[in-house]
Amino acid sequence: MIPLKQVNRRNILKGMLGGSAVTIGVPFLDCFLDTNGTAFANGAALPVAFGTWFWGLGLNPGRWEPKGEGKITQFGPELEPLTPFKDKVNVYSGTKVILDGRPMITHFTGEWAVLTGTTPREERVILPTVDMLVSEVIGTKTRFRSIEVTSTGNPAHSYSRRPGAALNPAETSPVALYTRIFGPEFKDPNAADFTPDPQVMARQSVLSAVKDQRDDLMKTLGASDRARLDEYFSSLRQIEQQLDLELQKPAPLEACSVPTKLEEVTPGTEITQVTANHKLFAGLLSHALACGQTRVINVTFSDATSSLRRTGSSMTHHVFSHEETVDAQLGYQPNVTWFASQAGHGLADMLTALDGIKEGQGTLLDRMLLLANTDTGYAKVHSLDNMPLITAGSAGGRMKTGIHVAAKGDPSTRVGLTVQQAVGVPINSWGTDSMLTSKTISEVMA
């Protein structure tokens, strides 16, 4: 006889299935029994949100990667600003863009290959970027399918494209964005009327047709197979419950509040201008997400040929990247590393804004997945190896976080595929030619 304390749910499961080695089933029971769970305990989970965050000219090899693989304990100096979020981000080092004999168009090939999964054949991109692919799936029911902004003052500094070579122009002015989102057309989501979606009702009737066959199927099965089928139908019930919730007026977005009016600084490429406006954008976008106005954002911190410069200086980050010599003592370019760490600070500002919005027991960042990406692995020589990629947030628990994944020269598309799957894009492979992959980064998939 089993002592009572050992009757945990694993034992129950094992017993049900006749003691065979079964590794499935626990996720469902986790949800079922977990009193802190989001699915059953709190009604509908808040929907996942997605964003891309771009900065130009990458980081310096050896100066950003966290120490060791696996759990992040310490970032490299250029990403140190992310330390407060070390449990909420993943860092991917060692991925690359593969040219397959195509030209290496500087500050162009890298970012578009990462974002579209395809290395461009010429200076023209016709495939949609990952944020647009995600928006097709999660962005269709919100007021804005996606919102693009840039902190550099130039609307062409956008790293978001629709299919067919159309660039989504980026908003350059925080004040203009405020008006666009929270101006007269803003409807408080908590006050809005609700109309049930007939598609959802139709899906309900289909699932009930599947469920109708349950008894007939059960009759023909042995005990262990019945237990397995039972689990299937428990899973089905859970999807039905999700649909039920979609047919009810959504729970109020308690974290939604209209931000106070703001004052922007004149958009421009001086680092003070960029940082100030980027912070304003970060706050506005966070409120827009919390108020359900959009579920997809795209932020440009600096452009690929980074025009960022110090106040009063005309030397841009890009010029420094090629012209500054590697300091023999330090082993790196001191000015370039300063600019690179500005990107680290910028990303930290973005995460601070997202994480500052409390939603239930978590934060907006927790149900978000933000993919930070860039155009090169080493700007000095335009390298497409060791492209820095960072994700923040867990997509509502669908990704593990706090992990450094050191890839082995894998195509960057593995990260792109992983984030798309995590937020529910129904694909199992992504990319073209050598960039084609069907392998997600399993280390971070929950």
């Binding site: 996720p27 009737s205 699932l207 066959q213 199927l217 023909t220 694909i427």
Partner: protein, 579 residues
Amino acid sequence: MTYNDKGKGMTSRSGIYRRSIPLRAMILGGAMAALSLVGIADTARADSAPAAGAVAMRRLTQEQYRQIITDVFGSTVSLGGRFEPDVRDAGLLAVGAGQVSVTAAGLEQYDNMARSIAAQVVDEKHRALLVPCKPASDTAADDACAKQFLSKVGRLLYRRPLTDRELASQVAAANASATKVKNFYSGLGLSLAGLLEAPQFLFRQEAVEPDPDHAGWYRLTAYSKASRLSFFLWNAAPDPELLTAAEKGDLNTSSGLKKQVDRMLASPRVETGVRAFFSDMLAFDGFNTLAKDTTLYPKFTSNVLSDSQEQTLRTIVDHLLVQTGDYRDLFTTHKTFLTPLLASIYRVQATFPEGVLAPWVPFEFPADVPQAGILTEASFVGLHSQPGRSSATVRGKALREVMLCQKVPDPPGNVNFNLVQDTTNPNFKTARQRLKAHATEATCVGCHKLMDPVGLALENFDTIGGYRSMENGAAIDASGELDGLKFNDVVGLGKAVHDNPATSNCIVNRLYEFAAGHKPNKSESEWMKSDLQKNFEASGYKFPDLLRNIASSDVFYRALPPQTGAIDTPSPSKLASEH
């Protein structure tokens, strides 16, 4: 009298032989028929229970799911989404598939995929081709057209005709949906999505019926036979012709079965089935998580993962199906296929056609180069290694478990591996020296004796499969021993594996387990030994003959009686007509 009482201790297979003689005589020729006749004389005993296995309810694997969608809807319908991980049991994912269910997260993915596929099937681009009728109105339900489509597609997806209840329920769902969204095709698509996420589709649930010729014996229903056969040979659902053969009862006759087996074995789709089997048996799913230290081995790019598997599968398909060679020669052959990437890892010169992104060429290693057989390919030595070093122990274990179907015990809990793992110790330059020092610990000796003498023979291959003759400046001694047979190098190991009886018995057992989806019981094991293994040997270890032998055998389609209490009131006739 229950089956268990009746069959207890009995080993007779008379019924099988009685049925299978003419069949095998036709297939394998006179010699084999004579062998079978001997079998009858030895074992015939009237009224005994037959060799028979459990039925299985197997979740479709990813490849099977993909294949079915492509077969049914064509290659222009794409499927996306993530599959739940498959589970390995008794050395095979195909057996593990009989133990897994669908989690909530997994069903969410199936639901997404189902709706994505269904939406494509009924979209304006595909509907003319895939929907066999036009509704009276595009904006309203159409009972007749929905019924026509769903019964046709349902038969292919469920691998049997839908029952009346199932069809009525799906048509009602299509109608209700069409009415709600005011669009016939959307409603039809949603109902199709329902079929695609139903357990009848996602699980290969086998049904059993009493054998009308033998009171108390059971067999798979004709549709379940069709599924077993088709997933076995093609790793795909039965095609319409096979379903029709099942419907007509042809599969319950030896001539009808033979006709289908002949047809399916003659099809190029056998390659898909053979690839599926070997990918499973060789544990290629391990490549999904395989990582190497690229600081030490910068040649190891992600393409190595796919190229290594493909190399071995091409070698196998060519040797077993194209050349119809002796299975055991896979462990000694110098012939293989290479890409530029693999050639660079093996450090051999090979030229390739230009302008092809991933070219493959046939390649033959010179006789004096110790690269012979699939054990020396990166798919084996690379898969069974540590990230930064080779591992004689891991390789030895894998060789025994994967190729010889032997079980090596797991290491005890508190073993100190420092000596083995430290490749920089100047006192122990080679793996042999390190393992020797390690295996002086009494708790380890027994198991290491099983693994190391085999694995050390593969030490000429580093962790990514590159050839080396030295380690840390010391010459590598690749001599060893397998079950009493001593050899000097890896070529000798290949010959020892070739000559080991466990090698051919292992492939026979694994293949049957793959096909049947369960661990064999005693009666099946004895049948494999006396029938499959013997015939495999007699055929000169020809793999296509083994495929044919299993696919044509009576045991393959026989089933244990349904478990008492598992069925409420299924009358045999009802089961037979429904499934």
